[in-house]
């Protein structure tokens, strides 16, 4: 994880831990989020991502450690004293107020002049593309409209950081995709730091500048979507993002960033993602779509497999193979071009050495 240039950190988490009762939900988290970045906290439910977000927003207090926003320590400040705003999971719009009154709430707390407030509310409504919705009743909005109102209500306060707690979870698939684009657009247009909590890996990958993958209350890997997807640091990341073949083996040689792993009778080369030494038990992670199949030929020592299953997924076709060298292997190839195989066919299995990640078992 490369540290951001000094002075550019928007949010700094310094050794933050959290325990509920006896259970530790966050374990000494250190994290710097850069100004103007779309940053995702990704992980399965219970990994601590929402707790971390709520600590940044001031809704939970950290048991240990400090939170800095734009360099100032806000660890002990309540939410109403922080220049952060939150998009809640179910939006938490005030049911007794209209759309415009909801959006104006934050400015009203600052006791701004009524005319200024009205102007800003209209600008915020325009920003989220609901220009005529001001007088409407919040209860009668659709899910997507509620989402937009929640965005307007938060952004109108000109926060340093916008916190989003799985805001797309309540929406159906089509709307989700629309709102993903909408969120990206708003983030680019406002240039604000967005911290986005999600358990949906594809959402995190498509939307974020950087992703922090969390598991069991700790940060597993922080990096760009491409980095975490293509260079998983741990077995957990390889399993959680996308789908990978995980082949067990033992390190036989290490040279520079590369390692050779003995799997049954063959030696397989790959990129070492962790410090390794010969004899270490490891898994080789190879993504389904990086496995290439071709008709079996006479190449000596080639990896082969017999097709045992074939599923047409639409854009891709998924083959399950039984390989004498590797065991069970799954390959996902683009449908429509390249060779097709039938159950019982024997194929040659290949991948680029850079696509094989050697991970601690």
């Amino acid at each position: 994880m490369d540290a951001p240039p000094a002075g550019e950190a928007s949010v700094s988490i310094r050794g933050v831990s959290k325990a509920f009762g006896g259970a530790r939900v966050l374990n000494a988290i250190d994290l710097d989020i850069r100004s103007g970045e779309f940053f995702s906290l990704l992980g399965p439910s219970g990994c601590g991502k929402t707790t971390l977000l709520r600590i940044i927003g001031g809704f939970e207090s950290a048991s240990d450690g400090a939170v800095l926003i734009n360099g100032a320590d806000v660890t002990d400040l309540p939410p109403y004293r922080r220049r952060t705003n939150m998009i809640f999971q179910h939006f938490a719009l005030f049911p007794h107020l209209t759309v415009a009154q909801n959006i104006a709430f934050g400015l009203e707390m600052k006791r701004l002049d009524k005319r200024v407030v009205a102007e800003k509310v209209q600008a915020a409504l325009d920003l989220v593309r609901l220009p005529d919705y001001g007088p409407r009743d919040v209860g009668k909005l659709s899910g997507g409209q509620k989402q937009r109102v929640a965005m307007a209500r938060a952004l109108i306060n000109d926060p340093d950081v916008l916190l989003l707690d799985e805001p797309l979870g309540a929406l159906d698939q089509r709307l989700r995709e629309q709102m993903q684009e909408e969120l990206r657009r708003l983030q680019r247009q406002t240039g604000k730091t967005f911290i986005f909590v999600t358990h949906d890996q594809s959402e995190a990958i498509t939307m974020s500048d950087r992703i922090a993958v969390m598991s069991g209350g700790r940060l597993v890997q922080v990096g760009t979507p491409r980095e975490v997807y293509e260079q998983p640091a741990e077995r957990f990341v390889a399993e959680f993002l996308g789908s990978s073949n995980l082949i067990q083996g033992t390190v036989s040689a290490v040279t520079g960033g590369r390692a050779e792993v003995r799997v049954r009778d063959v030696a397989i080369e790959g990129v070492a993602r962790a410090p390794l030494s010969p004899g270490d038990p490891v898994v080789i992670g190879v993504r389904f779509e990086r496995v290439r199949l071709s008709a079996a030929d006479a190449t000596p020592a080639a990896l082969t497999g017999a097709v045992t299953g074939c599923t047409y997924v639409g854009a891709t076709t998924r083959y399950e193979l039984d390989s004498p060298q590797l065991g069970r292997i799954v390959a996902e190839t683009p449908s429509g071009d390249g060779p097709t195989f039938a159950i019982g066919d024997t194929c040659r299995i290949r991948w680029a050495a850079g696509d094989a990640s050697i991970l601690a078992a």
Binding site: F59, E60, P78
Partner: protein
């Protein structure tokens, strides 16, 4: 969750006020309890010593015991009848039909009408209809009418919230409507039914004003207490009050103990 505000002086003041309100609620009851043991011929302070003789007098009074028995029996009978009526109505209310909203308003009528008017209503009706006043005639009818709306309003949300597909699954497996009721619906609502009967019992047991004008020569506990208060302020009155409280609170506690089973569904 919010440690900061939990320590705030405003919240402390709030809890102090709540405590003071509890004192307001319990002070008169505590005093009554103390006076029921006061060895004094007049109700009131000072405290002249401890005695249980007022309880002895109360529990030896055949008038009181008779009114207790009357209240108990009429409470049980009216509560069971009202619960049965409320249950059938609540079952019917799970379907949509034309007069539903009208019936809903009619159900509320016995509650909305002020007690004294309700009492006058029955006096007029039974008087003109020539029904003799008494425990098992007028009082029973009045109490069933009084308890019915509460029984319905307690059972209706329970039945309404209950997953219809369970019933439909039973029907699909070949059960007749009656079997569905006995084998599926009844076991599921039974805890609510018991709680409703007990709730209805306390409503009937505590009811005074609607009973008072139509009871004739019989006595229920509240009516007996009323005649005692209106007559001479007998020194055993606090003991009577305590005994009545003990009975209704016991019924309610039993209802409460049965309630968690109802909520776990």
């Amino acid at each position: 969750m919010d440690r900061r505000s939990r320590r705030s002086p405003a919240l402390l003041a709030l809890f102090c006020y709540a405590l003071a309100f509890l004192c307001f609620l319990y002070a008169p009851i505590g005093l009554l309890l103390a006076l029921s043991f006061n060895d004094s011929e007049t109700i009131g302070l000072p405290f002249k010593g401890l005695t249980t003789r007022w309880y002895g007098e109360v529990l030896a009074s055949s008038e009181f015991l008779l009114s207790l028995a009357n209240s108990f029996l009429v409470g049980l009978a009216s509560s069971v009848i009202a619960t049965a009526l409320g249950l059938t109505l609540a079952m019917g209310f799970r379907s949509e039909f034309a007069l539903k909203s009208v019936i809903m308003k009619v159900v509320l009528l016995p509650i909305i009408i002020p007690g004294i008017v309700g009492s006058v209503l029955f006096l007029t009706f039974f008087g003109l209809a020539g029904i003799p006043f008494g425990l098992w005639t007028t009082v029973l009818l009045v109490h069933v009418t009084w308890v019915l709306p509460f029984a319905f309003l307690t059972l209706y949300p329970r039945l309404h919230g209950f997953d219809r597909s369970i019933e439909e699954a039973a029907m699909d497996l070949g059960a007749t409507p009656f079997v569905v009721f006995r084998r599926v619906l009844l076991p599921i609502v039974r805890p609510s039914l018991i709680a409703t009967v007990l709730f209805g019992f306390t409503l009937s047991f505590d009811e005074f004003i609607r009973t008072f004008l139509v009871i004739g020569a019989n006595r229920t506990v509240p009516v007996h207490l009323w005649t005692l208060i209106s007559g001479q302020m007998a020194p055993f009155l606090p003991a009577v009050g305590v005994v009545i409280m003990a009975v209704s609170i016991t019924a309610s506690v039993i209802g409460l103990v049965l309630a968690p089973a109802k909520q776990s569904e």
